[in-house]
């Protein structure tokens, strides 16, 4: 069986005057129908750029330079833009952008905004599109009678839900949610996660949740990819990632999660992520890694299989390596 979505060795660079930023640098993963994948990493690790790439919406001076994005057996990087616009973007893969709260047009009714998105892709009249907009609002827990409201009449949580409704308007197979709840409170955040859970159970929606919050990801993801400096350094089933993190970076992230009723000691990963114009040689994490060895400074670690579909790019997994 082939996966719904398969990303292979994807590279997206920004060609700036001061050099090329390797924001996404050789990323691979698969996503099945109804599956939820969490992508976690620090700010600047390339998460949003990865999301834009999957939609073929990388802003200039960025460009996808290599790799493939295979949806249902077809590489969408090989398709003409015309077909992507008509058949793929929003219809099969859609995205809830970071800072979605500003994504709504302030002078246009919510319902009209959703209806326009529907009419741009499907041959339906305004009346039918508005009915569907109301239906969509209902499905995200907003009273459908508020379809004629303007964005400023909605609270932050409602706006976020409206943006989600818009991303779902064309019944995509995959929705990418980029930090969908960072600006929201825990209560609203939990309500929105519940909404995602419902959609994937009932409609078989596949979800890619992008965030820097490991706790949030645990609430929904079946598998988790940890990104560092443009690369996935660890990928595996959630159970494994949370109970037996393999990569030193993941371990550091896990240790720095504050927990209620947990330790009162503050832990963190010293240092900061590298400049992606000029990442360190070898393992990109080596300047911050407490276990860095000679080889880490020279050679980039490949992925090691640590069992049950769980991989980690770290030299510590190599048999017989000297760990001194």
């Amino acid at each position: 069986m082939t996966a719904l979505l398969e990303v292979r060795n994807l590279k997206t660079y920004f060609f700036t005057l001061r050099g090329s930023v390797r924001a996404v640098d050789g990323v691979s993963f698969t996503l099945e129908k109804g599956e939820a994948l969490g992508i976690v990493g620090e700010s600047g690790s390339g998460k949003s750029t990865l999301g834009f790439s999957l939609l073929r919406l990388v802003p200039p001076p960025g460009r996808i330079v290599e790799g493939s994005i295979i949806l249902d057996g077809e590489d969408i990087l090989k398709l003409p833009e015309e077909r992507v616009r008509k058949e793929i973007r929003w219809k099969r893969i859609s995205m809830i952008f970071q800072s979605a709260l500003n994504a709504l047009n302030p002078v246009k009714r919510i319902g009209d905004q959703i209806a326009d998105a529907i009419m741009a892709h499907e041959d339906v009249d305004k009346k039918e599109a508005l009915e569907r907009a109301a239906e969509l609002l209902k499905s995200v827990g907003i009273d459908p009678r508020r379809v004629n409201n303007y964005p400023h009449e909605f609270s932050g949580g409602m706006k976020q839900r409206a943006v989600i409704a818009m991303a779902l308007a064309l019944q995509p197979d995959v929705v990418i949610a980029d930090e969908p709840t960072t600006a929201l409170d825990v209560v609203v955040q939990a309500q929105i996660l519940n909404l995602f859970k419902k959609l994937r159970k009932e409609k078989g929606l596949s979800i890619i949740l992008i965030t820097h919050d490991l706790s949030l990801v645990a609430e929904i993801a079946d598998k988790v990819a940890i990104m560092y400096a443009g690369k996935i350094v660890e990928l595996g089933p959630s159970e494994k990632i949370y109970t037996e993190p393999a990569h030193p970076y993941t371990k550091g992230l896990m240790a720095s999660i504050p927990r209620i009723g947990g330790s009162k000691e503050l832990a963190w990963i010293p240092g900061s992520p590298p400049d992606l114009r000029n990442p360190p040689p070898g393992c990109r994490f080596h300047p911050r890694c407490p276990f860095a060895m000679e080889i880490c400074r020279r050679e980039e670690p490949p992925y090691f299989d640590v069992g049950d579909g769980h991989i980690s790019a770290c030299w510590l997994h190599k048999e017989g390596i000297s760990k001194s």
Partner: protein, 369 residues
């Protein structure tokens, strides 16, 4: 807390107290509202009693819009309360100045507590110096056209430091205190040349450069990544020890509160609904709103991922323009009773220094402090 003056007087550990504090903002009205004589008043803070213990970290938590920042600004004296008062126990030096200026005070075992709203002129300036604030947004709160040196010198110039060399020394010392080292490397940089974490360090440096005694920190880490977050929190705790500070720490993240706070005040729609020592609040919450907040915190455990998470409250926080009558939480409360719709619950003492404003706790005795 229904703070009574006598009880405040018997304490020796209070650096600041708010008594019946209200902060109302009037909004612009439409013509029809003016004709209908309808006022539009945002009750951002609506009857807050709060005690801040010296040398401790006191948290304000609650959903967006519940009045945390407004209360923080009241505490540092950026707003004058519409009603009620905020009293502060200053340094001995300032105490003399305030006494001479005839500012009203309450006596307490620990010293005199002065009514901040009544300070003027030199006394007010000194007061501002002793109580500082670190603002919510590390990106928006630094002037992009000023260098770090200019940003940090600004409060010094305002407070009359005329000697340029002395100012530079103080700036360097502050940069060292927040671990922006070597300081020379940061002096002439602009905010956009710093990472989010470094900007927040500059914000903290600006707040401590005048040697305050009380610092209000408004969501100092919520815009930062988890790994930078811990570093900044550690820095703040170290500074507190080194410089004998008291913190009022505003956050909506209960997990952060659990690590750094001694006491937690849970705010809802302009009021404190529960107050107590951190572990009491987080492990034995009594108010239904606090219980819901804690239930909603995501936990880093993937086992529950197929379950719909029960968050035992519905809907969202109502607007501060129209606060529900009775218990202001009743439209969202799963336990709301008839009387909740009519009568606002007082505070009930539910444990040591632990108060909850909920009729469910009525059996317990009514709180004094």
């Amino acid at each position: 807390m229904g703070i009574k003056i006598e009880e405040l007087s018997s304490r020796d550990d209070i650096i600041l107290a708010g008594i019946g504090v209200k902060m109302y903002f009037s909004l612009a009205r439409s013509i029809s509202e003016i004709l209908a004589r309808k006022s539009r008043v945002v009750k951002a803070v609506d009857g807050v009693d709060i005690l801040i213990e010296k040398g401790k970290v006191t948290c304000l938590v609650g959903e967006s819009g519940c009045g945390k920042t407004t209360l923080g600004k009241l505490i540092v004296g950026l707003y004058r309360p519409t009603e009620g008062s905020i009293v502060y126990r200053p340094s001995d030096e300032l105490s003399k100045v305030l006494l001479d200026a005839g500012v009203p005070y309450i006596e307490s075992k620990g010293g005199l507590l002065f009514d901040m709203a009544k300070a003027r002129g030199r006394a007010l300036k000194m007061l501002r110096r002793e109580i500082q604030i670190v603002f919510q947004d590390p990106y928006g709160s630094l002037n992009p056209r000023m260098t770090i040196k200019d940003i940090l010198e600004e409060p010094l110039i305002i407070h009359g430091y005329k000697d340029e060399k002395e100012r530079l020394e103080m700036v360097i010392k502050a940069l060292e205190d927040v671990k922006l080292t070597p300081p020379e490397e940061f002096l002439y940089r602009y905010p956009f040349q710093l990472s989010g974490g470094q900007r927040q360090r500059v914000n903290i440096a600006r707040a401590i450069i005048l040697g305050p005694r009380l610092v209000v920190a408004d969501e100092p880490v919520s815009m930062l990544d988890v790994s930078i977050r811990a570093e900044i929190l550690k820095l703040m705790l170290d500074l507190k020890e080194r410089r004998n500070l008291t913190y009022v720490f505003i956050t909506h993240d209960l997990a952060v509160a659990s690590i750094i706070c001694d006491y937690i005040n849970v705010m809802y729609l302009g009021r404190i609904v529960e107050y107590g020592p951190t572990d009491e609040i987080l492990l034995k919450p009594k108010h239904p709103y606090t219980q819901a907040l804690i239930a909603a915190v995501p936990s880093p455990d993937p086992k529950g991922r197929w379950r719909i998470k029960e968050v035992p409250i519905i809907g969202e926080i109502p607007s501060a323009l129209s606060i529900p009558p009775g218990c202001r939480f009743h439209p969202r409360c799963p336990y709301a009773m008839e009387k909740c719709k009519i009568n606002d619950p007082p505070y009930f003492e539910v444990g040591y220094k632990h108060l909850s404003a909920c009729w469910l706790n009525e059996g317990e005795k009514v709180a004094k402090i």
